[in-house]
Every structure is written in structure tokens, then in C-alpha cells.
Amino acid sequence: MQQLGMGQAVNQALREEMTRDERVFIAGEGVGVSIHDNPMLPTADLLKDFGVARVKDTPVSEAAIAGLAVGAAVSGLRPVVEIMFNPFFTLASDMIVNHAAKLRYLSGGKSTFPLVVRIKTGAGFGAGCQHAHNLEAWVAHCPGLKVVMPSTPADAKGLLKAAIRDDNPVVFIEDMMLYFVPEPVPAEEYLTPIGKAEVKRQGRDVTVVTWSKMLGVALKAAAGLAQEGIEAEVVDLRTLVPLDRETIISSVRKTGRLVVLHEATRTGGFSGEVCALVTEEAFSSLKAPFRRVTGPDIPVPVSPPLERFYIPDEEQLIAAVKEIV
């Protein structure tokens, strides 16, 4: 099977969908002429292969980029636009939160928004809090937006293709650290359904719910725990909205214990939603209080020693699991 990083997998998904459907185009800052000669990046060589009409470099204008997507989508195209770094989502957010997410509702279902906003995220680059800020919980809090956050290149390919074919606005958040971690990706066409979590590892003692880059941490921790006889089940959400409640609940019913792991800060983080759901629906199955392992409630620090300790790691997860097992 081909080995691709997540950027390459995204690239392949874009290629396949652009080839399949004339209405699909991409736009964003430097999606065409990039500053990097790096085939691992998501829009590499698309300009060369699809031309300027379908691969549009824009001025530095996030609001206009998101607005372009809204306008193009409502008139029947299927735009895929890119926000370079997650913090700049704030500049584009009016178009996404107040328009893309609401105009179908406001128009009595007459307007449709088949658009994808790709956002690059993640700490670990030493680029600081104005470049790195995981905002998925904000977006998930806005009704009308689907929120996808893949953890593996294979999922990214299938989910992005599904997002492009979806008739709703989808916010598709890619952790940039995953661009550089090759994993097997099927070469053929496939769609990965939005709204379906996946159990990435079976286990009987504790459920670890996670998504995006933290899946790697969860799997490493699970391997470590297994050596001590603790079998963790790892549930990769893949999609935050709509949330796959069944997979989470049935896993917790089986294990009786829950730890949620994400890189974003804790207060108001999406782990709160997962824990609330489990408390509502599976309280009687819980043998211990749930635990959350998250980034601390501070802006992402820049310097290597500080950033390293900001990002949750296996040790923290193992410690949290041991507290409740």
C-alpha cells in the first residue's frame, strides 16, 4: 500500500475530487504558488496540474476567502478553501459561523452550502500562540457546521472526499505535524463517512477517547499500559460534529472507565462534551470518575522546552489511566 503523510493524503483527495467534479475548486493564501518545495504539503503541484482557474491564490483576506466559499457554494459550486493557521480562523469566522452555518436555516432550506474550510492546526512547530491554537471546540459549538479532525492519512483522504461531497459546510481541521508522518493509505477511491468514530484499538479496561494528532499519543500509551496488563480501548472520534455517540457509549459500557485526550486547552474543551455525554447516557456503567488529559489553559508557548511540556504526552495519559483503573 502507498505510504503517505496526511498532507499527501489530502492532496490525493483534492485531486480525485477535482478530477471527478468540475465544480470543485480550491482557494487560499499560497495554495497555488507555495513557498515550500515540499511534496508532503497538501496543495503541492495542484496549480501545475489543474491551472489557475481551479487553484486560486488570494490576497491576504481570510474574511473574503471564507466569503468566497459561501458565495460560490450558494451558487452551486463546491469550494474547498484553506485557512493557513487555526488562529486566523477568527478573521474568517463571521462568514463561517454567521453565514455558512445559518443561511440554510434562514432561507427555509433553500440555500445550500457544500463547502469545505480546511484549517491547519497544531502545536509542535515552535511558532507560538498566534500561529497555534486549537479551536475545534469553538467551531463545534456553532450549530450548522460539521467538524472533522482526522488522525491518520487514510482517514483524512476518505473524510475529505466525503466532506467535499457533503451538502453542508464542513470545517476540516488538519494537524500539521501529521503531514510528516507517512502511513499506509489505500490508493483506490473510497469515502470515509462523516459522523463515524473508529475504535483504533480494542481493550477491556478503559476507554480513551481522542482525535487528531493525539491518537498517536493514545496508541503509544496503550502499548505501554498493555505491558502492565491494562488494556485500553482507543476511540478515535474523527468527527466532532455530528458526534458518534453510540461508539463512545458502547465502549464505555464495556470498559466502565473513560479518559478523554486532546491537545486543545481544557476549559470549554470538547472533552467536556464527551464526558457530559457519558455521564448522561452511561453513568451506571462508570466504575470510576472520568479523567481529562489536555493542554493546560494557557496560550501555546513557543520555546522548545515549554512547548514540549504543553503538548499532552503518553506519560500523562498513562498516569491518568492508572488513577482510575
Partner: protein, 363 residues
């Protein structure tokens, strides 16, 4: 007459005082003393040499990524030279020379680029803001600072820097509009360095000039040769005086060129030709000014050598100090400092959690 041209209150001038050979237009030559001219030169040269050193440090892995300023020294030094210490500097992320002129230490510049927010600390007694990464956003707080100056009836001016790319952000337009409507003391300095990462100025806007954007907001705008420190200084002085005397905002477009990479993560060969860059070597702001200083006998080659040696030594000492400081700053617990004025209980708990984890790591 059903159709006639509307006269606008302002037009767009282009100002250049020193040509590429360092020949001065004597009618426009600003009336400043020799020491001031030498200070301008030193500020630019220090910016250039320090930029070169920073690039080496980054390449050696001793520092993180940063946005080099080479080629833009005149646009920065000429503009801030018109400020008084009590005025406000609101930078973007590519104003290292201006920040140093305004009292930021070189060691703090290194610290910041190495990732330590301590390096962003505002020097005591100076009104500088930290760098702003989200493009164009700082124009809005500059308008806010100027609003406060008017409110407090203080005669200080805010000077905000931004790039050609930033003029495409809504924030820039809203800032100009507020400043125009409220007539507050702010000077908008656009460093048109022709590039916004890989996007050329021609693809950023159809406007012939960036300065003309100010006109739409009833704000005077001027375009200057941004590699001519005397032109930038003259335009800035005029704008600062206008602001200080209560006559509102202005915008200055400095036409310059980003001679170096966008940031150290970038390979410009992907999108621009060497020849394009070479054309700008002849317009270099520092060589041009040195020619002028020599022609005015303010300066000899010997003197330049002495200044170069001095600067080299200063940079060397700053690098040493910064590396010492970094050793003190490696404590991960520091990440909880400065989030709030005080550490609220829930953060104290998280701080405590990390402390425990670190203790376990070390045993």
C-alpha cells in the same frame, strides 16, 4: 453639467530625496544635524548586520524562525526616527530595526525569536507593543491607542507598521476609517516590500498605489521611495507633526523590497527570479546613504570601518547574553506566567500538576 470630475481633498504624491547614487535633492533635503544623520546610518547598519547574524543563528539551530528585514532598513529607521520616546510604536512582525531604534535590546530580539516571550517584554518607559503575527490586525489597536491619546488629551502619536499584503485585510480598512472618522493621531506606515510570502504586490490589489487607499477614508496618503531614508523621514515627520497638532491620521507607503526570505521557512527561488532581486541591489538603502554622507564629508571609509567593528562587538555581546538568559528560561513551569495578572486557582492546580510531573521525570 451632468457628469464631471469630483475634486478630492488629497492627491497622491511620490517623494524621493536621495537618488540611487546618493545624490540629494537640495530643495527637499531635511534640515537635520550631522549627529542625527549618523544616527540614522547606524540604526540602518545595525539592523542589516544583526539581521545577517540572526539568519546565521537560525541556520545553526540556535534560534527559531523569524522575518528578516534586509532591504527595508530605511523604511523602518526613517519612520521611527520621527517619533519621540513617548510616542507609540505598533509593529507587525518585520520591524526589528525599528524596534531596536525604539529601545528594544538585541538580546530580547533573539530571545523572542528563540521562543521566549520574555523577549517580547516592552522596555521600561517605552511605548512599544509586541510583534503581531495575524496580518494587519495591529492597525486596529494603533487606531485604538490614538483614540486613547485624544481622549486623554495627550500629545502622543501612534505609528503602526504593516505590509503590502496587510492592505488586503478588512482590519486595515476599518482602522483607517476609524482613524479618519475620529481624527486621531496615528501614522500608518506601509512597508510595500512587493511580496506577501509568495504573492506579488501586483496580485494583492489592482490599485496603482497602496497610499491611495487612505484617500477613500479621507486620510492623506503619500508614496515615498522606501529605500531613501531621508524621504521616509521627511514624510514621517510631516505625518507625525500633523497627528501631534490634532490634524488626524496619515498614511505613508514606503516602496521597498524584501531582499531576503519571507521567513526562514521559505525558499523564494520558488516564486521569484534572482534578476528581480538584483535590480534592487542597486537601490540599497544603506550604500546609497553612505554615498551621501561621504559626499557631505560627514563620513569616511575609516569611520565606517570603526562603526562596523563597534556593531559587530555589540551583536556578539548580545548573542552571548541571550544564550545565558535562555538557560535561565528553560523551566517549563514558566509557561503559566503572564496568562493573567494573577494565577487563578484552577491554573494554580494545573501548574501544580506539571510541577509534580516534572519532579517525577527527574527521579
Amino acid at each position: 453639467m451632468p457628469r464631471q470630475e469630483i475634486e478630492l481633498p488629497y492627491r497622491i504624491d511620490y517623494l524621493s530625496i536621495l537618488d540611487e547614487q546618493g545624490k540629494v535633492d537640495q530643495d527637499l533635503e531635511p534640515d537635520v544635524d550631522k549627529d542625527f544623520l549618523l544616527k540614522l546610518h547606524r540604526g540602518m547598519l545595525l539592523g542589516r548586520r544583526f539581521d545577517e547574524r540572526l539568519l546565521q543563528l537560525q541556520r545553526q539551530g540556535r534560534m527559531g524562525t523569524f522575518a528578516p528585514i534586509t532591504g527595508q532598513e530605511a523604511a523602518q529607521i526613517g519612520a521611527v526616527a520621527a517619533l519621540e520616546d513617548s510616542d507609540w510604536l505598533v509593529p507587525s512582525f518585520r520591524e526589528m530595526a525599528a524596534e531596536i531604534w525604539r529601545g528594544k535590546t538585541m538580546e530580547n530580539v533573539i530571545l523572542l525569536y528563540a521562543g521566549y516571550n520574555e523577549g517580547g517584554a516592552i522596555p521600561d518607559g517605552l511605548n512599544n507593543l509586541p510583534i503581531a503575527i495575524p496580518v494587519g490586525t495591529q492597525t486596529l489597536h494603533a487606531a485604538g491607542i490614538a483614540y486613547a491619546m485624544k481622549y486623554r488629551q495627550e500629545k502622543h502619536v501612534a505609528m503602526v507598521f504593516f505590509g503590502d499584503g496587510a492592505t488586503s485585510e478588512g482590519d486595515f480598512h476599518e482602522a483607517l476609517n476609524f482613524a479618519g472618522v475620529f481624527q486621531v493621531p496615528v501614522v500608518f506606515v506601509c512597508q510595500n516590500n512587493h511580496w506577501a510570502i509568495s504573492i506579488p504586490r501586483s496580485k494583492q490589489t489592482r490599485s496603482k498605489t497602496l497610499a491611495q487607499k487612505a484617500l477613500a477614508y479621507g486620510v492623506p496618503g503619500i508614496q515615498v521611495d522606501g529605500n531613501d531614508v531621508l524621504a521616509v523621514y521627511s514624510a514621517a515627520r510631516e505625518a507625525v507633526e500633523r497627528a501631534r497638532s490634532g490634524d488626524g491620521p496619515s498614511m505613508i507607503e514606503c516602496v521597498t523590497y524584501r531582499m531576503s526570505v519571507h521567513t526562514t521557512a521559505d525558499d523564494p527561488k520558488r516564486y521569484r527570479r534572482e534578476e528581480d532581486v538584483e535590480g534592487w541591489v542597486a537601490k540599497d538603502p544603506i550604500t546609497r546613504f553612505e554615498k551621501y554622507l561621504k559626499s557631505r564629508k560627514i563620513f569616511t571609509d575609516k569611520k565606517i570601518e570603526a562603526i562596523e567593528a563597534e556593531i559587530k562587538q555589540e551583536i556578539k555581546e548580545a548573542v552571548e547574553r541571550s544564550e545565558k538568559k535562555m538557560e535561565e528560561l528553560g523551566d517549563p513551569l514558566l509557561m503559566f506566567d503572564h496568562v493573567f495578572a494573577e494565577l487563578p486557582p484552577y491554573l494554580r492546580e494545573q501548574h501544580e500538576e506539571l510541577r509534580k510531573e516534572l519532579r517525577q521525570d527527574s527521579t
